[in-house]
């Protein structure tokens, strides 16, 4: 029932599979240098002993800056420089982004803590906010990169080839590069992993034994997305237009008329 995922700073250069800490609404995670006072220890001399707290608050989260003199910057990595500053001593500052990177200044280093809020809700085209309307369980933001990745994965099947093989990660990178010059294997892979979290994909039985298998994950994502109409043929425009265009397109998996 978690709503927030915290990804601590990488501890070694080559570590690929970073830990994810999951917080349910109301749960609190303290971070800092001291192992005794915190749930998440950041072993760096430049970090305060009790540096801060992250609290999941429903579908979003709040940040307390417990340091005495450092300002933390919370960036939206997909927001073209969009960020907020949380000054020292500020408690419970709300953070509105779906993806965030808290940058801790630490004696010349900048340590990133990533926080994801995959449960953000978006207005469904039919329902409204009354809580009595049957609503889809998924809410996706059509302006985000993950949506473009999902659209690229679903493209061939949406264009009328129901049994077309799925594109490889490299093919997805090539497909997205015109609109997203920085696209890389790693970033596309990251978005696929994030989609699996976001769409609450049940891990397949095979993952238990052999570790996550990319093909199974892509296949499951595409079949789920098509089954619940998260991506439709007219959404494929995201593969053409510039990606980061804030518009009214942020709607959830809408019931068709």
């Amino acid at each position: 029932m978690y709503s927030i995922i915290v990804v601590p700073p990488p501890t070694t250069e080559d570590e690929t599979d970073r830990t994810q800490l999951r917080l349910a609404p109301g749960e609190r995670l303290g971070f800092g240098r001291s192992a005794a006072d915190n749930d998440l220890t950041i072993a760096h001399d430049g970090v305060s002993r009790r540096a801060g707290e992250i609290t999941a608050q429903g579908a979003f989260w709040i940040l307390s800056n417990l340091s005495r003199e450092q300002t933390y910057v919370v960036e939206n990595p997909e927001g073209a420089g969009e960020h907020i500053k949380v000054g020292p001593g500020r408690l419970d500052a709300p953070v509105p982004f779906e993806f965030s990177r808290i940058v801790l200044p630490a004696a010349g280093d900048l340590l990133p803590i990533e926080v994801w809020a995959p449960r953000h809700d978006y207005l469904s085209s039919e329902g409204g906010l009354d809580g009595a309307t049957t609503a889809p369980a998924f809410s996706v933001d059509r302006t985000k990169r993950y949506f473009a990745v999902l659209a690229a994965l679903c493209e061939s099947r949406l264009r009328g080839e129901p049994h077309a093989p799925l594109p490889t990660v490299d093919q997805v990178v090539d497909r997205l590069r015109p609109n997203w010059p920085a696209a890389s294997r790693t970033s596309v892979q990251w978005n696929i992993d994030y989609l699996a979290v976001k769409l609450r994909l049940k891990p397949g039985p095979e993952t238990a034994d052999t570790g996550p298998r990319l093909n199974g994950k892509k296949e499951s994502l595409v079949s789920l997305a098509l089954r619940f109409d998260l991506v439709r043929e007219d959404d494929l425009v995201v593969l053409r237009g510039p990606l980061r265009e804030p518009s009214s397109a942020a709607v959830s998996g809408r019931p068709a008329r």
């Binding site: 109301g26 039919e126 009595a132 609450r200 499951s220 068709a256 008329r257």
Partner: protein, 539 residues
């Protein structure tokens, strides 16, 4: 009602024998109009003069864009066809609009439903804490019990989906999210109504078949609904659905207590509390709930209903719909509709395909003409398929049930401590009752239902198979049944069927032969499997 109608239909529009009158209501997926029966060819005098016509937009867009919508419609039609119960709205007919001149409606599916007077949501809006509340709750609960007993979960119980009849009684409707139970849970599409969704389904994992839900999800929704009807407020605090959802999450995690409205009468307080237990396992079973709700409402015990509902085969439907359905089934990704096996093929050509009903479920492995009750076919076939051992076949499980109890689900033999269709001893069943391989916390107590018994038989046989020695004499399947009756140790020690069980084994062998289809391909396939996949065993 200011929201636009999902499917606008002009007044006076004709569909089949019906003329469209006033609009009644609209939902996210379809719109309902009053229909008046007008004389037509093939008129059916058995139909009432007025009905509710539910228009579902199956005609617009391309099939692949409407996958989930079609799936929702199929669920509803399927449930209406299979279940006819006093507390469920009835479906008289299904039609498909054939109107090439009107592309907005052409191809739309129309369900002809029993006409109701209004909905509980309208009643509660007009009259908070209605005087008839307790009696209505008893009837709603009765409807839930009828659904659950028949092996279905509603999946979207809320006031708008409870309809009130001209005589003031309540019936359940809107079965777009309903799903048939497979063992202990069912798969429903990933839609829900936030205020009535139990906390374990908030942000739950979703597999390719949809979301797993259990009857306890309906029990939670009933608790919310009862609280709303009796006190005009939601049981969880908060001014918005989001706040109530977060309150529900905090309650389920154990950080918050449940604080029910002080206006709730004492008799109902305990009922609502037991419906809103934190975890699904702690919620009250529907049967017990119904008894307590009826006591609290002061209504009499409902007349005893048939124990198991047999599926209806004489379906009234147009051939057009059959074809439409075949295309739908072929376009469904995943398994949303598990009944539609072999329909249409992957090219969606449809044609003359027949729907697989429970009566023919697994027909290539289990004969349909030998008196195996149709209601258990699915459980039997699926339980056998869950086991990787080729010896554990549907025919073996069916033969075992026949020999144990003659398919009597109510068998009770306290002298031997054996109960139910498979004559389980509760203390043994405890080890096999759960599908995740973990023993149940407590020994189950009788009555033991077929949906508990039969999958557990499959699991137990699957466990026994590798433990029987390779050099035993006789048909391995019969040996498995003998080991089920005694134990694998006794069968190993005896080097075959123990003498005391020989009569039983003979009966199993007889029914095994009788239930196995006389299809040479199949028999040969089983023989080949047995040959190829018999693992080397340690002596």
């Amino acid at each position: 009602m200011t929201e636009p109608y999902a499917v606008p239909v002009p007044k006076g529009y004709r569909v089949g024998a019906w003329e469209v009158r006033e609009p009644i209501a609209t939902g996210a997926f379809g719109s309902v109009y009053e229909g008046r029966r007008v004389a037509a060819d093939g008129d059916r005098p058995d139909l009432p003069k007025t009905a509710a016509l539910k228009f579902l937009p199956t005609g617009t867009g391309t099939p692949r864009q409407l996958t989930h919508l079609r799936e929702l419609i199929e669920r509803e039609v399927e449930l209406y066809r299979r279940l006819k119960q006093p507390r469920l709205i009835r479906m008289y007919d299904t039609l498909v609009v054939d109107d090439p001149a009107g592309p907005a409606l052409d191809g739309a599916t129309v369900l002809v439903l029993e006409r109701a007077e209004g909905s509980l949501s309208a009643l509660v809006a007009a009259e908070p804490r209605p005087a008839a509340g307790p009696a209505l709750l008893a009837q709603i609960c009765e409807g839930l019990a009828q659904l659950h007993r028949a092996g279905w979960v509603h999946g979207d119980l809320k006031p708008a989906n409870v309809l009130l009849m001209p005589d003031g009684s309540a019936r359940l409707a809107d079965f777009n999210m309903a799903a048939e139970l497979e063992g202990t849970h069912a798969y429903t599409p990933a839609f829900s109504t936030p205020d009535y969704t139990p906390p374990e389904l908030l942000w739950s994992e979703i597999g390719e078949r949809g979301r797993r839900i259990r009857p306890s999800a309906d029990v939670w929704a009933f608790g919310v609904l009862a609280h709303l009807v009796l006190t005009d407020s939601f049981p969880l605090p908060g001014a918005t659905p989001t706040a109530r959802r977060d309150a529900g999450a905090a309650y389920a995690r154990g950080t918050d207590e449940l604080r029910l409205s002080p206006e709730l009468p004492d008799a109902w307080r305990e009922i609502v509390r037991d419906c809103l237990a934190r975890t699904h396992a702690d919620r009250i079973p529907t049967g017990d709930l119904l008894r307590r709700v009826e006591a609290a409402a002061g209504t009499g015990r409902s007349p005893r209903l048939p124990r198991r509902l047999r599926p209806r085969h004489r379906l009234r439907r147009t051939k057009v719909l059959v074809t439409a359905v075949a295309v739908v089934a072929a376009s469904v990704l995943g398994y949303g509709i598990s009944d539609w096996a072999d329909v249409g093929g992957s090219d969606g050509s449809g044609g003359e395909s027949e729907k697989v009903t429970p009566a023919t479920y697994g027909a290539d492995e289990l004969r349909t003409d030998k008196g195996i009750p149709a209601a258990y076919r699915r459980l039997i076939v699926d339980s056998a398929h869950d086991c990787v051992q080729p010896e554990v076949t549907p025919a073996l499980i069916a033969a075992l049930l026949k020999a144990e109890s003659d398919f009597d689900p109510d068998l009770s033999d306290p002298a031997k401590d054996e109960y139910g269709i498979a004559r389980w001893t509760p203390a043994v069943l405890r080890w096999w009752i759960r599908d995740d391989g973990v023993p149940a916390k407590e020994t189950p107590s009788p009555p033991i239902t077929p949906s508990e018994s039969i999958p557990a038989v499959g699991r137990y046989l699957c466990f026994i198979e590798p433990r029987l020695r390779a050099d035993l004499s006789g048909d391995r399947r019969v040996l498995l049944a003998a080991a089920y009756r005694t134990s694998f140790k006794k069968v190993n020690d005896a080097g075959g069927v123990p003498p005391k069980s020989s009569a039983y084994a003979t009966r199993v062998a007889h029914f095994l032969k009788e239930y196995t289809p006389q299809d040479r391909d199949y028999t040969a396939r089983v023989a080949q499997y047995l040959e190829e996949y018999t693992p080397p065993r340690k002596a």
